[in-house]
């Protein structure tokens, strides 16, 4: 087990985040059961007021999940020296089977909270709470991954065994020596790079078509959503080696370091923004037919499509720049 301030912060933060979501879900259940917009009763008024609390809680959840995603990577990075063969976060995460699942769950939580807030924002534009049931049913789906993540994260830190010298025994070594953390999934660069370029161009194209004609909301959403995993794979497969100028260095986390000008922050922020906003375009598509949202949803979709265009565009441009400016040729 490893206990240090960052681990305490992460475990406590996830517990707090999970608690916020549970509180939000409890209010959500109350709203789902007692909702009656036609009633002028005190009860209905109170339920309407609870929706403000739930929106606020979800906003905080999103912020906390995003920060906790970064803190988790920082922490794993700082723990690396305690494991034989681990050079950075990539190695520490592999020191336990829970490492990468926790990271992916955190990412999932942030994406889900972002999508929920898009839904919430759309709902607020309609005078009759048109999405209230959809929204609060979806809210119930958000709590389980967050709780699983909190549990797995605790298990991850509890299961870590740093290899240190103890006073009783002599030479103590990690069994395998080096090389354990190095073999992250590495794709052929041409395939990863080509796939990324294709998905990005298609997503950007369909967002443009959507902005021009109002058609292709679903395609924009699916392609933007697909861009997230494809881009992450490409970061590992192609982009990282170009940044580090080392064909064998595939780590997606070192990009956050000072040595590489903190390139990871704008890169990942743009990607996340673009993917979530783009997915939001498709998420809202079914509600264009709702009478009270007939004006608001298309306007919101257009704004999201522009955000997706900006986010994915910046990500693509940064990636292209990195590859072109790199001294590495593969």
């Amino acid at each position: 087990m490893i206990v240090n301030p960052a681990v305490i912060a992460l475990v406590g933060g996830s517990a707090a985040g999970g608690a916020l979501l549970l509180v939000a879900a409890a209010h959500g259940v109350a709203v789902l059961r007692g909702w009656d917009l036609g009633s002028g009763s005190q009860r209905q008024l109170e339920l309407e007021r609870r929706t403000y609390l739930v929106s606020t809680l979800l906003g905080f959840t999103l912020a906390f999940e995003l920060l906790s995603l970064f803190l988790f990577v920082f922490t794993a990075d700082a723990l690396a020296p305690q494991f034989t063969g681990a050079m950075c976060a990539a190695g520490s995460l592999q020191a336990s089977p829970y490492g990468y699942p926790v990271l992916l769950l955190k990412l999932l939580d942030a994406v889900l909270a972002g999508l929920w807030l898009i839904l919430d924002h759309a709902d607020k534009q309609g005078y009759d709470y048109p999405l209230i049931r959809v929204k609060y049913a979806a809210l119930l789906l958000l709590a389980p991954p967050a709780l699983v993540e909190a549990g797995l994260q605790a298990a991850y830190f509890a299961g870590l065994r740093p290899e240190v010298i103890t006073s009783c025994c002599g030479s103590l070594f990690g069994e395998g020596g080096r090389g354990l953390g190095a073999d992250l999934a590495s794709l052929p660069p041409a395939l990863a790079g080509g796939g990324l370029a294709a998905v990005l161009l298609l997503a950007l194209g369909s967002a443009l078509v959507f902005l021009r004609t109002g058609r292709g909301a679903l395609a924009t959403g699916l392609l933007s959503a697909a861009a997230l995993p494809v881009a992450l794979a490409a970061v590992v497969g192609v982009i990282s080696p170009y940044v580090y100028e080392l064909p064998t260095h595939h780590c997606p986390f070192c990009l956050l370091q000072r040595e590489y000008h903190h390139l990871g922050y704008p890169l990942y922020a743009a990607l996340l923004l673009g993917s979530v906003a783009g997915a939001g375009v498709a998420l809202l598509a079914p509600f264009r037919a709702t009478p009270s949202l007939a004006e608001a949803v298309p306007a919101l979709q257009r704004r999201l499509a522009r955000l997706a265009l900006a986010g994915l565009g910046v990500f693509g441009a940064l990636s292209a720049f990195v590859v072109l400016a790199s001294g590495l040729r593969m």
Binding site: L37, G38, G40, S41, Q42, L45, K124, Y127, D128
Partner: protein, 228 residues
């Protein structure tokens, strides 16, 4: 021309509890645009509760309220507030100026969340203060205003969003006769602007004034008399 229409509006506090209180017990009314209407009646007769309902501050327990043909009753608070702050201006009995802020800041308050550029809003607020003759007090803290000044500031504040309806609750309760007459002059000005004015008062000076178009008398949450 019916601007605001109430159909069998009821307002019950603490519904279903032992201390249940019916403040408004089935009122149907229609109010014309551009008129000065006074609601009179003893305290506890339900006139203040009715003002709150008409002004969109509270939702009726039952019944319907429409404004210009649009129903307000079932609107969520968010949209009701939106309608309210663009349509109604309120002058409260105790004025309710926010202490510690200046006169100008108080007048700007109702428009603060609307996203109007600050300079423009300040200009607008100052214009209202000038018109009401308290422009020179703009930078003063409201804590140091006299009763008459405080009311003029409260009226300027009610007007800052350029509402079509001005609602005043017992406006002369804290004023002497001279100041009360000055208040009525201001009301005459509002009427001349084409605004609808709704006043709750049991002050004869108010409901016997010549500019009043209609007086509705309340007792026990019901309309007792309606004179035009």
């Amino acid at each position: 021309m019916s601007f605001i229409v109430l159909e069998d509006v009821r307002r019950v506090f603490h519904q279903g509890r032992p201390d249940e209180l019916t403040a408004v017990a089935g009122v149907s009314l229609s109010l014309a645009a551009g008129a000065v209407t006074v609601l009179r009646g003893p305290s506890g007769s339900g006139k203040t509760s009715l003002l709150a309902l008409v002004g969109g501050m509270a939702r009726p327990t039952s019944g319907r309220i429409t404004l210009d043909g649009h129903e307000l009753t079932s609107l969520p608070e968010r949209f009701l507030t939106e309608v309210r702050r663009r349509t109604f201006g309120f002058v409260f009995q105790q004025f309710h100026l926010v202490r510690g802020l200046t006169v100008l800041e108080n007048v700007m308050l109702p428009a603060t969340p609307l996203g109007i550029p600050r300079a423009e809003l300040a200009r607008r607020a100052a214009a209202h203060l000038d018109r009401l003759g308290v422009g020179h007090r703009a930078g003063a803290r409201v804590d140091w205003l006299s009763g008459g000044e405080a009311q003029r500031v409260a009226i300027a504040r009610a007007l800052v969003n350029n509402p079509r309806v001005v609602i005043a609750d017992e406006p002369t309760a804290h004023l002497d006769s001279k100041l009360s007459l000055e208040f009525l002059e201001i009301v005459a000005g509002l009427k001349a602007d084409g605004r609808t004015v709704l006043i709750a008062s049991h002050d004869p000076l108010v409901f016997e004034a010549g500019l009043v178009d209609r007086t509705i008398t309340f007792r026990d949450g019901r309309v007792e008399a309606d004179t035009r």
